[in-house]
Each structure stands twice: as C-alpha cells, then as structure tokens.
Symmetry: C2
Subunit: 262 residues, 2 copies
C-alpha cells in the first residue's frame, strides 16, 4: 500500500522503557526517528546513539519538520510536555494508559493517543506483532494516520476511547502488577524453605495459557473453589510467619468462596 | 535402559482430572493400565472405555497383581481409600499436593507420593514433559521405582518431602487459583463495559513469561510500584461499582507500596 501522507518520521520525548521499545519497533518498521528529548541529559545521549537519532536539549529544540511527536513520559507530565512543545505540522500523541486525550487539548486538534497495552522491561525484548495498540483521536485524519502507523508494528490495532483506556489500564494492573505480586509471595515463601521458584514456572505458564481457551470462571479450580476447609486451614497455618501474605490469602479465599458457594 | 523390575502396570482409584491426565500420559509412555475404580459407577465405565482398562465396582476388587495403585481421589479421601485397599504386592501412591505421606502408613511401607505440580482441566491437553513430578517415599526401592516411572512421563522429576510439598501446594494456589481470580476480576470489569478480555491476553502471557527470565521483584512495575497516587486514586474511583474488587485492589496496592516504599 502506497500512502503519500502516512507517518514516516517520529521524534520522541522520553527515554524510558516505553520509548525504548517503541523506538525499536518503529525502526524495524522502517520509520525514521529524528529527535529525542528527555530532561535526563545522559539518557538522551545514550538513547540517541542507540537508535541513530538526534539528541536535543529542550522541548523547544525538537524539529517542527516531523510527522509525529510521541510523548513517552510519566503520566503526570503528559500535559506539561504537550503544552511546552512547538509542534509545527506534527501530530502530538501520548502513550499513557490512564491520561485522558483531553489533557492534550491545549496543543491543538492534531493530537491523539498511541498506547501499547503491554509490560516493558529494559532487559527483555517484546514481540510487538500481538501487542494491542490502542488508538484515539478526535481528528479523523490524525486517527487514520496513527492507526496506519500502529499497523506497521502490530497486527492488533484497536480504537479505544479515553474512558475505555483507563479501564483497560486498571485491568492491566490487575493481571500484570497484581499477578506479579502473587509470584513474589510464592517466591519469598519457597526461598525461605530453600525450594526453587522454577518449580512453579510450568504452572504459571499453563495458568496464563488456559484463559486464552476458556473463561477465567471456567478455569477456576483449587481448595477455595471446592470450599475444602481442611486445606484452607492448613494453608493459613503455613502462612503464620507471613502475616501480610495471610491477609491477602484470606481476602482472596473469602472472595472465591463467596463467588462460587454463596 | 532395561530394568527388570520397574513399574509396568498401574491401577487407578479415581476418574477426575488428575486420573484422566495421568492415565493419558502413562499410556503414552507404554505403561499398562489394569483396573480403575471410583464410587461414581458411570464415570468408571466411561473412563475404562476411554483408556482400555477394566472397571471394578469396589476397592477390594482391584487386582493384587499390579505394580502400582495410584490414588487420584479428593484430599480428604486419601487415607480412607488407602486403608480400604488390599494392595498385595503393589506400591500404593497418592497424587495430592497437601496430604502427608504418613496418611498412608496403615497401608504398609511400599507407599509413596506421585504428585504432578500442574493444573488440569478436562478440556485442555497438558504437555507432561515439563511438569514437575514430586516424588516421595520412605522406602528406597519404592522411591526409585516411582522416580523411574515419573521420568517416563516428564523430564522434571524432583524428590519432595511432605512438608516441602505442602508449601509448593500453597504457592501453587497463589500463582494459579489466585492469579485466575485476578483474571476473573479483569474479565468482569471489561465485560461490564463491553470491552474484550482478549485484549489482555498478550499482557497475561508476557507477565507469565517474564518471571522465567527475571525475579518477580525485578519484574514488578506499575502505579503502586511507583507510588503514583493520581493513578491509584483514579483506579479506586473506577472500582466504586465493584466494592469487593476495590477491597482486593486496596490490599494488594498497600502491600506493594509497603514493600517498595517503606
């Protein structure tokens, strides 16, 4: 497909995990990265070297001759970064799961959201092809351009409004951050008894794989699901040395029993 | 390897998920299944037909000419089933994560545990090759035989004592049953707003894959990890219509903040 006016050049604000992973994916899709800015001077230089783009020392120094400025900054700085820009002809889009599009209103109409629904760590490469790219804009042309760009890096592009996006973000926190807390609890308990956390990895993978095939309600098993009070009592005893974990154990167990037995 | 006295014949007590998946794996490893018993007569007949073994109508009818009787019964019935058997020359092993080996003491010395650390559903095939098979016996010969049998179906065989096994079971409940509760919560919230749970699947898979490469502590991210109070407040508002979920959200969030910021 030959599009005369699709997004071919991007500048980035921010050099964290989201900026790093998006930069890698955009380069792979043959999008040109022009400038990069962040208040952390050392990070900017390192990032610019890694991705062959131009480090600039203030938001005002970003070139105005670019198709898109992507804001990859902390949630509470989206608004400030947006209004400090002189975007010229560029679209300005943020990449946050929780910040409303209206926070970019002062920037003009060519604004949008380009939110990858995934967890990123410096250490680990991510296959973008399946990552849901959540796109939003009130300007139809901007929406189309951001959608086209998203399809260059992912097969999973969806139109998501600001109010939908914050619900996705909330649930993403549950299935990612909170699930990881459960992994941490298990890790701590096993370590204390010199047992290897890796023993749980096949179960962890299978738990995640299962809900791609059946609903979480169908997939629910275990002592609380069966209301097996002997096992629940024994588990609580085992947690006596971890009172915070016992509290979390109790609350989730109570919730499962209420859901399936009341 | 040619072993004259390894386990070649198995009878099963129970016809649930564990029995079904173990039967499938044992047959694949060319172990012969002789008898099957369960108090649910219809299940026994169906199971026997599916796996080409012999349905019997009481524990006493199980043949005594078998190498191993595997108890795949609910946790609270292991002891009763064990003592009701006339095992003859057979080893008797249970498959429970939480029941101590000592519960089989009345059966004799040729007793053990053969516990697959995995979640099983009728609907979904499981690749046994990576499933940790947790083996225990006080009798060295029985231990060796159960270990050899486990290696026929898995590459991941470990000696695990009763006190270690109950800790593994507790942590398995956390990373499997409790994680699945978080998936359910996310599913409910998204459904209520006509958003597709499948949007979270890449994140769910990545969350599970990440802890194979880094510790859960390193993998922890998100608003509570950053103590981002604006986002936390907004999430709590979004949960106003789900008070039980709000309670779980609050407790886990408090725990993350305490862990990383106090």
């Amino acid at each position: 497909m030959f599009e005369l006016n699709d997004i071919r050049t991007v500048s980035l604000v921010g050099t964290g995990n989201v900026a790093t992973h998006l930069a890698r994916a955009l380069l792979k899709a043959q999008v040109r990265l022009l400038d990069v800015y962040s208040p952390h001077r050392a990070h900017v230089v390192e990032f610019a070297r890694a991705f062959g783009c131009n480090p600039v020392s203030s938001l005002q120094d970003l070139t105005t001759d670019v198709d898109l400025v992507l804001l990859c900054v902390p949630d509470d700085q989206v608004s400030k970064a947006g209004t400090a820009l002189s975007p010229g002809r560029a679209i300005v889009a943020h990449t946050s799961g929780i910040v409303g599009l209206d926070r970019l209103k002062p920037v003009g109409t060519k604004t949008g959201v380009f939110y990858p629904l995934q967890t990123f760590s410096k250490k680990r490469a991510v296959d973008f092809s399946a990552v849901p790219m959540c796109i939003e804009s009130h300007d139809p042309e901007t929406f189309d351009k951001l959608t086209q760009l998203a399809y260059k890096i992912s097969n999973n592009v969806v139109a998501i409004s600001s109010s939908e996006r914050e619900l996705l973000h909330l649930t993403a926190v549950m299935v990612n951050n909170f699930t990881n807390v459960l992994y941490s609890m298990a890790n701590d308990i096993l370590n204390e008894h010199k047992l290897n956390f890796d023993l749980l990895l096949p179960l962890i993978q299978e738990t995640a794989a299962k809900v791609a095939e059946m609903s979480p309600t169908e997939a629910q098993t275990g002592p609380a699901r069966r209301n097996d009070s002997l096992t629940l009592t024994r588990h609580r005893e085992l947690l006596n040395r971890f009172p915070h974990y016992q509290e979390i154990y109790d609350l989730i167990t109570k919730h499962i029993i209420k859901t399936y037995h009341e």
